[in-house]
């Protein structure tokens, strides 16, 4: 038998529950920011971020982090602010930024006041990201930026962008790139929404026409932007593939199977549907167990696989696709048309299925994850 380590964990779980009971008033509480402040003070959110930058600066403890996530999610209490800022930019600044940059940007990013767009992809640089052409040239105390970015999520809601630009046109591809911060509220920046496959417009084209940013709004050294950007990508893959999403989605499709009639009986009674539900649920469970295994390793200071992000993204996005397919089987003819546009009904599942394609593209396509797994985890030749 295992050593009984549960007691310390259970005490902590009780603490979290008590905190939530006292401070979270439920979904009726419109002012998430007041609650979040208390959650920071209690050490429950932004745990890896120093106090001086608005975080709660807690020792890394994957088990505690997991308990917090579970308990907060149970009562739907808000945790960290979503979006690129807290998830991608803040860790990058902490790893590679100047102290004044951290002071200036991180606190307001954590409260959600500063929203960030990720300006990486270009028309000619997707998987081959290092092929970017957007240029930045120093003129006096400013960088002058020209070029085009594309597929830029959330740019229409963002006031800042972290952007990869070519600053050393004569250097080899990977060594000529810099990582800049840019205020998007200026005439040189044009944001044009792109309508997505789902009909919504969450991403954009960005045109940069003599856009300007201060000389010292560079993260890391000139020409070292590629390395800086890797820090961000690691965080992105880990987020995209996280197993909580699979769990949630599975519960939704289970509900759909219970409440939808197929061939004259609830879909959940159909043996083929049950088989597929079981098949997917096993993968969701495996995904979750693998996530916990990775946390256990991190907690014990042991090395995980060098391609863990790739594994989990590939696995998680495939689950999302299977769930979308199963939903279509359950809905049958309702997947063809809905009487009204209804984001709660069948329309939601059509969107989810289409959405699962994005999970296989954003943050590096599935093929790029395969390359990463093959090269880093299996030691196979590089492309």
């Amino acid at each position: 038998m295992l050593a009984p380590v549960a007691s310390e964990q259970e005490t902590f779980r009780k603490e979290v529950k008590a905190f939530l009971k006292e401070n979270w008033l439920g979904a009726a509480d419109r002012d998430a920011s007041a609650f979040r402040k208390k959650a920071v003070a209690a050490g429950y959110v932004y745990r890896s971020i120093p106090k001086i930058y608005g975080g709660s600066e807690q020792a890394a403890d994957p088990v505690k982090a997991h308990i917090i996530r579970e308990e907060f999610d149970k009562v739907r209490a808000p945790r960290e602010v979503g979006g690129n800022g807290p998830g991608l930019l803040a860790p990058t600044l902490l790893a590679c930024g100047e102290d004044w940059q951290k002071e200036m940007f991180i606190p307001k990013t954590l409260t959600g006041e500063y929203r960030w767009a990720q300006g990486y992809s270009e028309p000619g640089a997707g998987s081959d990201l290092a092929n970017i052409r957007t240029s930045a040239v120093l003129e006096g105390d400013e960088w002058v930026i020209n070029g085009q970015k594309v597929w830029t999520s959330d740019a229409h809601n963002s006031i800042f962008m972290f952007i990869l630009v070519r600053t050393e046109p004569d250097a080899p591809k990977h060594q000529g790139i810099s990582y800049l911060l840019l205020d998007m509220r200026q005439p040189g920046v044009t944001v044009r929404p792109l309508k997505q496959i789902t009909g919504e417009a969450h991403f954009n084209e960005i045109f940069l026409d003599n856009a300007r940013t201060p000389k010292n709004w560079i993260v890391g050294e000139r020409g070292k932007g590629w390395i800086v950007s890797r820090t961000t990508l690691v965080h992105e893959r880990n987020t995209v593939g996280a197993s909580m999403g699979s769990d949630h989605l599975f519960n939704q499709v289970l509900k759909l199977a219970r409440t939808t009639e197929l061939n004259g009986r609830p879909a959940i009674e159909d043996p083929l549907i049950r088989d597929e539900l079981g098949r997917i649920y096993a993968r969701v469970s495996a995904h979750r167990a693998a996530g916990q295994h990775a946390q256990n390793l991190a907690g014990a200071g042991r090395e995980g696989s060098p391609a863990a992000g790739g594994f989990t993204k590939l696995y998680g996005s495939a689950i999302s696709e299977s769930i979308g397919l199963l939903a279509q089987r359950i809905m049958a003819d309702h997947a063809m048309a809905q009487p009204v546009e209804n984001h709660a009904g069948p329309g939601r599942w059509v969107r989810q299925y289409l959405n699962s394609i994005a999970a296989q593209l954003g943050g590096g396509t599935s093929n790029m994850q395969r390359n990463q797994i093959a090269e880093r985890a299996l030691g196979l030749p590089r492309d």
């Binding site: 038998m1 167990a289 295994h293 093959a374 196979l380």
Partner: protein, 355 residues
């Protein structure tokens, strides 16, 4: 559910691994596979003598007093090595006696099993009936009938026999009226056969432990399959780095490289999944039926598929008897079918979940 392995556990597993590496090189495995019983026995006996014989037996009976988590983790390594012998059957027999036996029965059998002097085996399936609910044999007053697909027929001195109602009986291999019929087995490192009983004297154990024993069997089959599939992936990855066609290693072709990445991705979470399942068995047995059914359904199916794809990926050499691929492919095929196929357990898991 905490299923992390401690440093002590990892060190122990490492020792077993070293033993397996030394004793199971491909040429010896092939000999065992081709029917060299002496080699198979030697490898298996050596395992028991490492102290594994009594892994799940209580310490007061000479065992190590460990749980299914440890047993499954060792089983993974045994599957990985392709080691011959009725390991799974023996562990299950020890587990059954330790949990269902009377004090006298435990004292009679466990010390010898722990010391590696007595091999045990479980005899559970009746035809294709794997579920305790479908076992029909009865021991009142004496045992008649047959059990099928029994692993350890040749080695075991004592059999744990499943009875109607999930009861279990102990039968000695030398008891009058016991007959053994070896079958031509898919996985020749772990041959199976039929054991027949003709009015045989037996001892029924006090606890009806059949349902728990089934969970343990499913979990160990999952662990073994996971090990087999992980080994197949490791081997085909190495081969693809050295096999040259069109002037480059075949691993340089993206069609190969990506297939291998997909195999590795499919294998990756199965270790955590079976360990979690074993930890559930040890720590929160109420959830065990469903977890074990789900793990067996998923892991033995995925592993079998992985072994099939990996075998094909070798090209012609993988299709030969001399090549090792089929040792693990057949192992995975056996685990897939043993104690209920994946589809059946998936349906069961759905029922148990209340879907």
């Amino acid at each position: 559910m905490d299923f992390a392995l401690s440093d002590d556990q990892l060190t122990f597993i490492d020792q077993v691994d070293r033993y397996l590496r030394d004793t199971c090189p491909p040429d010896r495995l092939h000999k065992a596979f081709d029917g060299n019983e002496a080699i198979a026995s030697e490898i298996f006996q050596g395992l028991l003598e490492l102290g594994l014989g009594g892994l799940v037996a209580p310490e007061e009976h000479g065992g190590l007093g460990l749980g299914l988590l440890e047993a499954a983790s060792i089983t993974e390594r045994i599957g990985f090595a392709g080691a011959p012998g009725p390991w799974v059957s023996h562990v299950l027999a020890v587990l059954a006696i330790a949990n269902a036996g009377s004090d006298a029965q435990k004292a009679r059998w466990l010390p010898g099993m722990a010391a590696g002097e007595i091999v045990g085996a479980v005899a559970l399936m009746e035809g294709s009936a794997w579920s305790p609910e479908d076992w029909k044999l009865s021991a009142s007053p004496r045992l008649s009938g047959a059990k099928d697909y029994v692993m350890g027929l040749r080695e075991a001195q004592v059999f744990v026999v499943g009875l109607a109602g999930g009861q279990l009986a102990l039968v000695e291999s030398t008891a009058p009226g016991v007959s053994m019929t070896p079958w031509f087995s898919t996985d020749m490192t772990r041959p199976v056969g039929q054991i027949g009983f003709d009015n045989v004297a037996c001892e029924v154990m006090p606890q009806a432990y059949g349902a728990e024993l089934l969970d343990a069997a499913l979990t160990l089959a999952s662990a073994d399959s996971h090990g087999a599939s992980a080994r197949m992936v490791e081997d085909i990855v190495e081969y693809s780095k050295t096999r040259v066609q069109f002037d480059r290693p075949i691993a340089a072709f993206q069609a190969v490289k990506h297939k291998l990445a997909d195999l590795a991705t499919a294998v990756e979470p199965n270790g955590p999944l079976y360990r979690q399942t074993a930890a559930i068995f040890d720590q929160t047995p109420d959830d065990s039926h469903r977890a074990a059914a789900l793990a067996k359904a998923h892991i033995t199916e995925v592993a079998s598929n992985i072994c099939r794809i990996a075998t094909e990926s070798y090209g012609g050499i993988g299709y030969t008897w001399e090549h090792s691929a089929h040792i693990w492919l057949r192992r995975a095929m056996f685990n897939y079918a043993w104690m209920g196929t994946p589809a059946v357990h998936r349906a069961r898991a759905a029922d148990l979940a209340g879907w």
